[in-house]
């Protein structure tokens, strides 16, 4: 049985100038922009059409969401530092920063858990009204993205050393791709936070 070789994942493709993995992750992010864009568009239409729409800060916990914003921003820095560590051949530092990124991601999920349980306790559910419908849909889908990122990062943290020894360029490329996704999830939150909580 012949082994299938995927070309241009550790060197740039001569036509595109980037690795196929990088092109792939950017196309995925492009589709994600449209996914979240559709939900933001729905949010605007629902809100503009409803005179009784509450302002986010009157019903949601702004300090807790601010804390989560800071956590996510910090995790983006540790993520990019983990990639930078690989570029300077410091696998130990990669592990440190990747571990921190995962912990910060988990921290975000814990804070989100507190926020949701508080809402459920007060009987605010996605089906309560359009406000909570869009609130839970947007923050819930974003939370699932954070969870997905944590799992991918955990996989690279736990199994990375083998590929790092065999093909460091390919491994650094994978971490860069995982980082691009993680920064995108941070970017979505940067818009979600003011539009849901502060306005």
């Amino acid at each position: 049985m012949s082994t299938a070789v995927i070309h241009y994942i550790d060197e740039p493709h001569p036509v595109t100038g980037v690795t196929n993995s990088k092109l792939g992750i950017w196309l995925f992010i492009a589709s994600e922009i449209m996914l979240f864009g559709a939900l933001f568009s729905s949010y605007i239409i629902l809100r503009v059409g409803n005179p009784a729409w509450p302002q986010g800060w009157t019903v949601l916990n702004v300090p807790l969401a601010t804390l989560n914003t800071m956590i996510l921003i910090t995790s983006s820095v540790t993520m990019v530092m983990s990639w930078a560590a690989l570029m300077t051949n410091r696998f130990d530092r990669f592990r440190l920063y990747m571990g921190l990124t995962i912990l910060l991601g988990l921290g975000f999920m814990v804070v989100k858990g507190f926020e949701y349980s508080h809402k459920f306790h007060h009987e605010h559910f996605p089906w309560t009204n359009n406000f909570y419908g869009i609130y839970f849909t947007l923050t819930g889908l974003h939370g699932l993205h954070v969870l997905g990122g944590i799992l991918v990062n955990l996989y690279f943290l736990l199994t990375g050393s083998k590929l790092w020894k065999a093909n460091p360029t390919m491994f650094a490329g994978r971490i860069e791709a995982a980082g691009l996704y993680w920064h995108f999830v941070d970017l979505v939150w940067i818009f979600l936070f003011p539009s849901i909580y502060l306005l």
Partner: protein, 103 residues
């Protein structure tokens, strides 16, 4: 590795600076929200700050500032479609627009 160690050290300093800017802008956007400005102004301020923050993340953390033209083309195309989708409200029932944003 295409990046020299010295280059990466310079990058790291940039990452720290971007982090400080992002944290500062977060404080500003939350602070402004406590002023309870009128809706159009509040929306404008919040979106301008969010756009600056996301541009910093995209340019430096996602390396778009030194990325290939192909990636830029993909993103410009996507952003045009994204903007069209956000502006879809203008193509909907006239009554929705005339009611405006209620605070």
């Amino acid at each position: 590795m295409s990046h020299a160690a010295e280059d990466i050290k310079k990058h790291v300093r940039t990452y720290i600076a971007v982090f400080v800017a992002l944290a500062g802008l977060t404080v500003v956007t939350v602070g402004v929200s406590y002023l309870h400005l009128t809706m159009p102004i509040a929306v404008t301020v919040a979106l301008v700050i969010a756009t600056i923050k996301s541009s910093l993340v995209a340019a430096y953390f996602m390396h778009l500032i030194s990325e290939r033209r192909l990636i830029h083309s993909i993103l410009v195309t996507t952003l045009l479609l994204f903007i069209a989708m956000i502006l879809i409200i203008f193509f909907t029932d006239q009554g929705v627009m005339s009611r405006g944003i209620h605070s």
